[in-house]
Subunit: 238 residues, 2 copies
DNA sequence: TCTGCATTTTTGTCATACCAAATCGGAACG
DNA sequence: CGTTCCGATTTGGTATGACAAAAATGCAGA
């Protein structure tokens, strides 16, 4: 377990550069949005070859510290949670390929949103309740408009992630929708489903209004179980 | 939001190699544990320079698909959730540096474990209950042995992540302990704390035994709030 | 001041070379 | 026959130099 980190006896030269710029970015020596120096400048300054410099830059990019579009100077990235979650995207895509991967991730989502609706039922303030109400109205208005219903569906759930006022949560929701939307869109689109889902949203909202966490959790689990039964059909998973 | 992916108009040559090997790894053409071909071989086969090959390998490594130790041939990695979580480690370390980062992550942990103890109270089977009991006993025996108490503390919480039988969860617990342990260890180590924490574990366990999710959640929140008050003192966070 | 073009940088890629470490193969030995 | 050890070979890490294409820059003209 820990030996996984110990075995790094020898280091690549690029690793030094990476840690140096990592520090400079974190302590603000390199401001957000500022481009890194040109490769040749870096290589002269540190006395390494361009090979090493390029490797370091790529590593920084993979770590999400800088944004490196081809042919452009890498710019220091804003340290938000969005950037972090985006960097995780490729990894999770791999997870979705392992047997049962989609189901495991979906169950994690159920668990998390169950916790969120409980929290909302207990702590949602007027602003968030109003936002949910609006999202619910939008959702109802979008029934039988497949694309718009999909969007408003997502928007409704997003409010749940905003209630606890923890900036980590919205990016997680964003990630979920990104990763699962590809399958979601393959689902059979049927106005009947829209009605069912809207009623489920409505039930969740009411439970939150009544400050009843148990009812809210139950409603949400019903809702997502139903959704899962639709999603799973796009797989061969049991 | 979506433009973040659109602006990738031009592609790097290495990206092709990455996607090719990505496919080969996922569909099993390259078995797990098998090393990638030598760089020179790859470059001849695809007619690209070694620069490109090395860049591709580095990208694969960053994605967690292969494990590339310096001086060794990169080997295809087992597609488990551990690998994924480990790959995001650097990203999360960055998150811990943003203002309030530790607190946000800790609150996420509280929310998640609250959900876990509820689940345990409702669904934990005999095996998991026995495991928790054992962990609790180990924890008690380790009181006032700072290091061992720390380990058994973690072990107790780990059981919570094992109950839902979702392979995503244990790596998440592993990640939490990895990322937070550095701060944890800076905490004032006091046998009194051990007693308090053990009693808290005990209370959580009993609530689960009684199949009382509300009591379990309450006990856990008390426990982690207490822990947070210890952790926060190693920061200047309000 | 703004626009468009020509010039200069800068990145992406290639080719080649060298060193040091890992791997491989066979010899020496039990 | 298996094991150990040592040398040759392979392979990854790094350096250097070069060139095309795209981006940044600066200047001239409107």
């Amino acid at each position: 377990m820990t030996e996984a980190r110990i075995r790094n006896a020898r280091t690549r030269a690029a690793d030094n550069l990476v840690s140096i710029y990592e520090r400079q970015i974190i302590d603000g020596t390199l401001a957000v949005g500022e481009p890194l120096p040109p490769e040749r400048e870096i290589m002269q300054f540190f006395g390494v070859s361009r090979t090493v410099v390029r490797e370091a830059v790529q590593a920084l990019s993979a770590k999400g510290l800088v944004e490196a579009r081809p042919r452009f100077r890498p710019v220091v990235r804003t340290p938000g949670y969005d950037a972090a979650i985006e960097a995780v995207g490729s990894v999770v895509n791999r997870l979705l390929t392992v047997p049962g991967g989609v189901r495991n991730l979906f169950e994690l989502r159920i668990m998390m949103e169950a916790a969120l609706v409980r929290d909302a039922a207990l702590h949602a303030d007027k602003i968030h309740v109003a936002r949910m109400k609006q999202a619910l109205a939008d959702n109802e208005a979008a029934i039988s408009d497949s694309q718009r219903f999909f969007d408003t569906d997502i928007a409704f759930h997003r409010v749940l992630y905003e209630v606890p006022d923890n900036p980590v949560l919205p990016p997680i929701h964003q990630a979920y929708t990104d990763w699962l939307s590809s399958h979601w869109k393959r689902m059979p689109r049927d106005p009947e489903h829209d009605h069912v889902n809207y009623r489920a949203h409505s039930r969740i909202f009411e439970s939150i209004l009544f400050r009843d966490p148990d009812a809210a959790e139950l409603a949400l689990r019903d809702h997502l179980d139903y959704a899962w039964n639709q999603v799973r059909q796009t797989f061969a998973e049991p």
